[in-house]
Symmetry: C2
Subunit: 356 residues, 2 copies
Amino acid sequence: MLHRVFFIINMAKQVRIKDIAIKAGVSAGTVDRVLHNRGEVKPETKELILKIAKELDYKPNVAARLLKAPAEYKIGVLLPKPVNDKSFWTNHPIGINQAIANSLPYNIKADFYEFSLEHHQDFLQRAEELMAAKPHGVILAPLYKDESQTFIKRLDELKIPYVFIDTNIDGVNPLTYIGEDAMKSGRIAASLVDAITPVDKDILIVNIAKSLVNTQHLNSRNQGFMAYFMESGLNKGLKINVDIPSDKNLEVKGKLDTVLSANTNIGAILVSGSRTYVVANYLENAGLDHVLVGYESIDENIKYLNSGTINFLVSQRPVEQAEKALQFLVDHLVNKNEIPNNHFQPVDIVNKEWFK
Amino acid sequence: MLHRVFFIINMAKQVRIKDIAIKAGVSAGTVDRVLHNRGEVKPETKELILKIAKELDYKPNVAARLLKAPAEYKIGVLLPKPVNDKSFWTNHPIGINQAIANSLPYNIKADFYEFSLEHHQDFLQRAEELMAAKPHGVILAPLYKDESQTFIKRLDELKIPYVFIDTNIDGVNPLTYIGEDAMKSGRIAASLVDAITPVDKDILIVNIAKSLVNTQHLNSRNQGFMAYFMESGLNKGLKINVDIPSDKNLEVKGKLDTVLSANTNIGAILVSGSRTYVVANYLENAGLDHVLVGYESIDENIKYLNSGTINFLVSQRPVEQAEKALQFLVDHLVNKNEIPNNHFQPVDIVNKEWFK
DNA sequence: CTGAAAGCGCTTACAG
DNA sequence: CTGAAAGCGCTTACAG
């Protein structure tokens, strides 16, 4: 006689609200009420349902939920207005739109508010407009410490979650920060200068900023420069700082002429921000060939990488950072996920070959 | 008299299959048949429906589709078995699992098949097992040109889409390749050596591989090295090649002892693969301090970066590459999207500071 | 405090 | 070659 054995294959079928309802002897509506805290349910029933849901390891069906409730999430984006169509800040909207395109089946809408890099007060004006649109979440670059804190106070009051991009500031509580570890990126830039500059030459550090104290990430990079040279630098020369409040060629020339004629042993220049090209331009015009290391792969800088005037750039990946910022925010809005406080992004070390 | 103006606000409501059906005077079923090429439809009707769909800019509702057809997609993953828990190939499963976690609401399942790096024939055995599971798509690292082509012929026959990761090979038709541009990464490695080596010193290029001809990406990197030095290198020294078929310390020592005693002007060493640490180990034991540039941020290499023996590493981001490979494959399976042939990923230039 | 029912947009098996 | 209808799992407005 032939014995046939039947296996009951556990296909791990999805557990539905209805399954919980049947097991608890209630209706689907009641289960829904418990699971989403809408409306009152008899405490014992509530407890029973939660217990069963846990036992059965209930996971909501995302597709079904979306089909029923295709909520639109509005994201307010507060970033600097690109000064031209190739500047650093053209990249971020690209990344955000890319992330939105990939966020199907969610319905995400980003509204962009661009503030002028010329006038600090523009930041707060655009922030005002952003608030008027009542977004569900905000992405911003808190470039100016003071103005940012004013704005953030209002976001906190209204419990609107916000993500920092590019620059981090202290004493506030963003959902997360997406960007470089500025101290560390300072160390990296310094190590590159160090590797290609004779040990007995002096090094000039150039900061181009209207208000250096109010510009957090330049300060952090500077700390990184100095930490590197103090701890592990090979270079034995002087480290000389110069702050230039404008990127106008004439003013830059004025300052650098002065510094370089007063310090004749300078072999390398480290620029703390993306306007490295301004210094490169100066060096080319003056016929100087100092080692030059700076920040960000923007077109103006790449031009001078290619001509050999800039040796290395330390560079963020703005498109990817913006993409991540949106992804995290959406994930938080849609799934209420908790998110780590910092998402430091690695920086790229970039030379001429990188763009071949 | 007061005039009131009513605006009809176009809420851009979603266009449904039903809307097309009504406009075309047919049923939803017919529209579905046209849109998905299932079953025959009268040619004129078909044309009309396509025209209307285009006019109305119809976009399928992903949520609804998923709700109805929660298909499980099986992905077969064919990658080298990590030799230990810190090796290069531990990263890829991490990236793939990460991408799966983020692929909700799609139901993706990855099956991993790991082949031994010791025996080429293991590749084909694991490939066999993979095929037996009848996956909907495949991710593989085609490390060995010949064996890979054999396997790929079968995938092509069964029209199973496949994505290359890490290594690219010619003459076949993957959905896409995710990885470095190996020629270019060769150029970058060479430029780093060039920047920190005196111009009159010779440069030694070391290839560690059982069969160099069958190892595509090492060959491409070597081409990149040479192209760089011919076109734009500052270095005027000789470029000397040595191939070492084993990474055993003793054999490496034997070869390098011979080469270095025969060529006393070598100032820098360029290693074409991830086993740069083997050469670093040799240099430390021999008390030599050549400039050393190699590949991949694996723990063994980072150790020698930190000790100062390795100057720079050119490094891929394996976790991210694996993540992307899965994302593209899923996108193709789910949305039938066409995908660009190559997705070259930028490489990282990495020094000691990068890991601080 | 609870249940029954409708409906989101798409797909599919069936009937013709 | 085509249509009518059921159903995927969840949410919601309504009735009680």
